[in-house]
């Protein structure tokens, strides 16, 4: 089996597992919050919507588990994630579709920036091991130990409340109509700077540490010594021999770190009231909006899977060994 086919099979399997997990969790857990809520909503939910909620949350006792599962898949494939309780009667899929682009933008840009910056800094520190650069390590340790949301709180306190440079919450100027104008884009960038910066600062340390350790390991390889012996300039050795090989594990750990970064960013959105999936999830949790919660989880997981798939293919493009094997 070729590399790509194997990875594709794995991701299809993982997607299936995530969707099934989403089906199983509400059925495994004790208590029945949804019935209680449907009871409270009595009469305001039309029968069709109530039916889809029952299917999604397994309230149909007269159906076998297998029938419930099949029905659940049928609804999912039609894009029906149920109705949100709090924003009744808006379908969950609409709310999620509205929030997703904001999160993808925020996470995407800040992750790419953090990755590039962290890798560059890590290369420098790993190369200059034993000099003042090593003293940067404790700082990165500190930042990797701080929870994202707390850095967000500090950033708001300093830059939004005290200095007044950036707005403390929201994702664009509420007085504007969302259109594709320069003014609006500028507002989005202005509101997004502080959250993005905070995500970058808190996630960059992981990349720095990883790259530094890989540089230290790679730099004693024979091919680096040979490159030196050939009389190549130090710069050529760093970029062309050491960093080039040290970056491979960075790319492969990208897929693992992504879930962590996404989790952190979701909480960051809650702190900044940034209208992405994280904030939606937060609202759903505080108002016990179970369909919305499940929908958010599903969309987050599937998006992370897609991002992983991209990172995997990038890795295969960079490292021919992965394509050969098997």
């Amino acid at each position: 089996m070729s590399f790509f086919l194997r990875r594709a099979v794995f991701y299809v399997f993982t997607a299936w597992a995530a969707i099934t997990l989403n089906f199983v969790i509400p059925r495994l857990l004790p208590g029945d919050p949804v019935t209680a809520l449907i009871g409270r909503m009595q009469g305001r939910i039309d029968s069709g919507a109530e039916q889809s909620l029952r299917v999604l949350f397994g309230l149909d006792q007269d159906m076998s588990l297998w029938q419930q599962y099949v029905e659940y898949w049928r609804l999912l494939l039609h894009g029906d994630l149920g109705l949100s309780f709090t924003h009744f009667p808006t379908p969950v899929s609409d709310i999620v579709a509205q929030a997703l682009p904001w999160t993808v933008g925020l996470v995407g840009i800040s992750t790419v920036v953090a990755f590039l910056l962290g890798t560059a800094v890590g290369t420098g520190i790993g190369w200059r091991r034993g000099t003042w650069a090593d003293s940067l390590l404790p700082i990165t340790t500190f930042f990797s130990a701080v929870p994202y949301f707390w850095l967000g709180l500090i950033a708001i306190a300093v830059f939004a409340v005290n200095l007044g440079w950036f707005p403390s919450s929201g994702s664009y100027d509420r007085g504007m109509v969302p259109t594709l104008s320069w003014e609006f884009v500028g507002s989005v960038v202005y509101y997004g700077t502080l959250p993005a910066l905070t995500v970058v600062i808190s996630s960059v340390s992981g990349w720095v540490l990883g790259m530094r350790n890989m540089m230290v390991t790679v730099s004693s390889e024979d091919y680096v010594t040979v490159a030196h012996a050939k009389g190549l300039s130090s710069r050529a050795v760093v970029v062309g021999y050491a960093a080039r090989n040290a970056i491979l594990p960075q790319v492969s750990s990208f897929t693992l770190a992504l879930g962590f970064v996404v989790g952190g960013t979701l909480v960051m959105e809650m702190v900044f009231s940034y209208q992405g999936i994280g904030y939606t999830l937060f609202e759903a949790v505080t108002t016990h909006d179970y369909p919305l919660m499940q929908g958010c989880f599903l969309v987050i997981t599937l998006s992370v899977l897609v991002a992983n798939l991209v990172a995997d293919f990038a890795y295969a493009a960079l490292d021919p060994r992965t394509r050969q094997e098997g």
Partner: protein, 341 residues
């Protein structure tokens, strides 16, 4: 999870030639070498302070953390070292009492996740074949699914998400990383001579696993445990901050929850949200430092003990690539340089 353990994974594949981590080399490595590592020592010291606070917390806290007083939102003073919150409760007492909750959850989640990781990882690595394929697939799935949202939706649907429940949820969702690293290392151990020898003498499989394989995984298991504890502490504090866990249970996240919901930021009440975050950072840093200590024990290339910038300059050594200062027993610091000029 994402930081401290990286180099272990790097170390694992290269470990095929040299004796694996933790293999006893009698007479060469001094005992308690781990405790001579300054990073690990600092980490253990900080952790010990928190542990004492966790045990003695309720007795040494100056006030009852729930006691409402008339000093509303006071800045730090002699009476309230870290000030008070919006109902006049003492924040220092909340911090001290909350330490126990944080440490207990971290510990329980760490133990649960490590146990699951060891069982899955070692089994997968040792059994091989179809069993390995299945277990690896399961742990890869758990690695790829973002943990925090998963923990949030599970915890939010539980009727009462108290400390131990949250710890178990974190443990059940967070074992995959350890399992993956352990599997890789077990795979490389499985065909070593000493394991083959044990097999040839007719030892039972479970005895080979317990007596031959597991002791050689100690360092990796320890690193995985510490990593999971860091992740568990962060997750639990996050959950408390979002307001999923009951606010009656004090932990550092609960303090931040009250601060965020009562506009501490807008009121400029820095004493309300800064100390709790610093405590989290300090605890996380202590655990990361311990992990560095373990990493350096396993992968000697990462060690730079005793070779600080000043030492290097004094000896006229220019730090360059391909240069590995290694500390050997008996001699204080001997440089083995592959390309000294």
């Amino acid at each position: 999870m994402a930081t401290g353990t990286t180099s272990i994974e790097v170390a694992a594949p290269t470990g095929v030639d040299d004796p694996g981590p933790g293999v006893a080399r009698p007479g060469r490595r001094p005992r308690l070498m781990f405790l001579r590592n300054p990073k690990a020592l600092v980490g253990i010291a900080i952790l010990a302070v928190f542990a004492v606070l966790a045990v003695l917390g309720p007795w040494i806290a100056p006030y009852d953390p729930n006691q409402v007083s008339r000093d509303l939102l006071q800045a730090p003073s002699g009476a309230h070292w870290l000030g008070t919150d919006h109902t006049g409760r003492d924040i220092l007492s909340q911090l001290i009492v909350g330490t126990r909750g944080v440490l207990v959850v971290g510990l329980v989640a760490g133990v649960a996740a490590t146990a699951l990781g060891v069982v899955v990882g070692v089994t997968a690595g040792f059994v091989g074949g179809a069993g390995d394929e299945t277990l690896s697939a399961v742990s890869n799935v758990f690695l790829v699914i973002p943990q925090l949202p998963l923990i949030i939706i599970i915890a939010a649907q539980l009727p009462s998400a108290g400390g131990i429940t949250v710890a178990l949820v974190i443990g059940v969702t967070g074992w995959a990383w350890g399992a993956r690293v352990l599997r890789a290392q077990t795979l490389s151990l499985r065909r070593r001579d000493f394991v083959e020898a044990a097999r040839a003498t007719g030892e039972r499989t479970w005895r080979i696993v317990l007596a031959e394989v597991l002791p050689n995984l100690t360092a990796i298991i320890a690193a995985g445990f510490v990593g999971t504890v860091i992740f568990a502490v962060l997750s639990q504090v996050t959950l408390a901050f979002i307001g999923i866990t009951p606010v009656s249970e004090w932990n550092w996240g609960t303090i931040l929850f009250w601060a965020q919901n009562n506009l501490a930021l807008q009121r400029g009440a820095w004493w309300w949200f800064v100390p709790a975050g610093l405590c989290i950072a300090l605890l996380g840093m202590a655990l990361t430092l311990i992990n560095f200590g373990i990493d350096e024990l396993v992968n000697p290339r990462l060690r730079s003990t005793g070779m600080h910038a000043r030492t290097l300059r004094r000896r006229g050594i220019r730090p360059r690539v391909g240069f590995t200062p290694v500390v050997r027993a008996g001699r204080p610091a001997v440089e083995t340089s592959e390309e000294e000029r």
